[in-house]
């Protein structure tokens, strides 16, 4: 079975999305919009960060879904977006309203620049290069000197809309952007480019025969993913009000992948929120048992990956096994 990827994804997306799921998304939006009114400052802050992380989870999920690639280096694009926002504020006095779009565009460019060398090669090279990318983040930040604030990092405190409560802005901006990103990605599924990327993921030769090289598909998927990650970084900087090198390590990047996998690779609102909540809240809840956090994440990842989320697929594999046949991957 060559070139079959079988990524961790839902088959249900785009316009085939059934009504109950869409309804659930609207209900979730309404509930989220009401949280600051009923919950205290701590929860408003935490859920705000959850939603920023949900966008980050979407960026890794997009690459997995449309590129069929694993990235453990998205902390790089996250850090890039975050520092872009923080530095624009500190050096030029610009708010996240400028910082976020700048981060999105520059992130896409950076994504292309990174994926370019492996554009025609197997995805394993990309996966390994992302590991190096993640390990390079802290040393690059420190190397950037005082402009990046060194170990201490930088503060992000300029409000998007002057005069309104900054705490509420730190909550509602991620909410609005998360909703927008989910909508944009749902539209993308129906676009010409969406069809190309999905076909190229499963059958690169078919995509080539119809005019789209592997390089095109690799670069496009990576550019979009990096842009979304960069936006997520910008949101994280704004919501958490601070950026520093130790929030962008290899572990950060791996946890993002964990968040994507435990949300079953969903690019929908509920899935992304579940992934974002998982990676934001587990370290908070288990703060006293910090050493156990990697074990929890690793176990969750293995559980979802080994048991699979598609009951039909698991059943089919089981049946094939009982029948004595085995699939050759």
């Amino acid at each position: 079975m060559p070139e079959a990827v079988g990524v961790v994804t839902h088959a249900v997306t785009g316009e085939a999305r059934p009504l109950p799921r869409r309804l659930a998304s609207w209900v979730a939006l309404v509930v989220l919009a009401a949280i600051p009114a009923v919950a205290g400052g701590f929860w408003t802050y935490s859920v705000g960060v959850c939603m920023a992380n949900a966008v980050a989870v979407l960026s890794v999920g997009f690459l997995l879904r449309y590129g069929g690639e694993v990235s453990i280096g998205h902390s790089f694009f996250l850090a890039f977006g975050a520092y872009c926002t923080a530095i624009l504020e500190r050096q030029l006095g610009l708010s996240v309203g400028i910082g976020l779009p700048v981060a999105a565009i520059a992130g896409a460019v950076l994504g292309v620049a990174f994926a370019w060398p492996s554009r025609a090669l197997s995805g394993i090279y990309l996966a390994i290069a992302t590991m190096a990318l993640a390990l390079a983040v802290p040393e690059l930040i420190l190397q950037a000197g005082p402009v990046a604030g060194g170990y201490e990092g930088l503060y992000v405190s300029r409000p998007l809309v002057p005069g309104l409560s900054i705490e509420l802005q730190r909550y509602y901006l991620p909410l609005v952007v998360l909703g927008l990103v989910v909508l944009l990605l749902a539209r993308f599924r129906r676009s010409r480019q969406g069809l190309v990327l999905l076909t190229a993921r499963d059958h690169p030769r078919a995509a080539e025969a119809f005019g789209f090289s592997r390089g095109y598909a690799r670069l496009a998927a990576f550019a979009i993913s990096a842009a979304v990650a960069s936006v997520a970084g910008s949101l994280l900087a704004f919501s958490a009000s601070t950026v520093s090198p130790n929030s962008f390590t290899l572990s950060t990047a791996i946890y993002l992948l964990v968040g994507t996998v435990v949300s079953f690779g969903s690019l929908g609102l509920i899935g992304a929120l579940a992934g974002g909540a998982f990676i934001t809240l587990v370290p908070q809840v288990f703060a006293a048992w910090g050493d156990w956090v990697p074990i929890i994440y690793g176990a969750a990842l293995l559980l979802v990956i080994t048991l699979g989320h598609r009951p039909a697929e698991v059943l089919a594999a089981l049946r094939a096994r009982l029948a004595g046949g085995r699939r050759d991957a």
Binding site: A11, D202, F210
Partner: protein
């Protein structure tokens, strides 16, 4: 939206093509042509080099010597992704449809290259982009109806029988109105009823501005469908002619009697 430099009715010509892998020559000075309005078969015993020649046409292999040209325009240096632009299209021996897309979307993908919508259209509900998607969907539905597949438009391909999946691939290949349709063992894995249906569909596609090239093991299909046949053996072309001529060719008979598979 075809390249203007390729004139209608142009032939696909293969001239003295040689190909070798690690010193082993799989194609030796092969020359042949394919004509518009015809179905041309490419046959030969196992290992004769027909798949290698097919891969030279699609661009997967690059021959060390010789030229391949469509209407005089050289193709042999073009990578696979650029051959679609000059009007080549193909199906695959192992069905290569995207399981996540439904049938009509798989066919729409066949037209993606013709699209003009940009990245903004991909994400935003802009009128031009929406119109293009609708137009593309309409074109795909038209081809599906022509091939009697409209009933499957909204289903995913994985659940369809192999014969139907093959027809969906052919729909995807012709939706962009190519000049050349390359079919890689289209009857592989099909039952006799499906093969008959496939044959009927391919006959219906014959038109003055399309050339169809079929690599196939199923001799009945080749003999009933093709206008002309090229026979390869040991990397060389040994015969060319109508099905009747090929059936009567002593060289071909000798080659095929030695190969009891067919």
């Amino acid at each position: 939206m075809l390249d203007a430099s390729i004139t209608a009715g142009a032939e696909l010509t293969v001239t003295s093509v040689s190909l070798s892998f690690g010193g082993h020559r799989v194609l030796k000075e092969v020359s042949m042509d394919f004509r518009p309005g015809q179905v041309t078969g490419l046959i030969g015993p196992n290992g004769a080099g027909k798949t290698s020649l097919f891969n030279c046409l699609t661009g997967l292999y690059r021959p060390q010597q010789g030229t391949i040209a469509l209407g005089g325009e050289p193709l042999e240096r073009l990578p696979p992704a650029q051959r679609a632009r000059v009007g080549l299209s193909r199906s695959f021996q192992h069905v290569a449809l995207c399981p996540e897309l439904d049938v009509v979307e798989n066919v729409m993908f066949g037209r993606a290259r013709l699209g003009r919508s940009g990245w903004a259209d991909a994400f935003l509900p802009l009128p031009a982009g929406r119109a293009e998607v609708e137009e593309s969907r309409a074109a795909a539905m038209e081809v599906l109806r022509r091939l009697d597949l409209a009933a499957y438009a909204e289903t995913t391909p994985a659940g369809l029988p192999p014969g139907t999946q093959r027809l969906v691939e052919i729909a995807r290949a012709i939706v962009s109105r190519p000049r050349v349709l390359l079919l890689d063992e289209p009857a592989a894995g099909l039952n006799p009823a499906e093969t008959r249906q496939l044959m009927a569909v391919l006959r219906g596609l014959v038109s003055p501005d399309l050339m169809i090239v079929v690599v196939e093991h199923d001799m009945d299909l080749i003999m009933q469908l093709c206008h002309r046949i090229h026979v390869l053996n040991f990397g060389q072309r040994i015969a060319t002619g109508t099905p009747e001529e090929i059936r009567a060719d002593p060289e071909v008979i000798r080659v095929y009697l030695g190969d009891s598979d067919d």
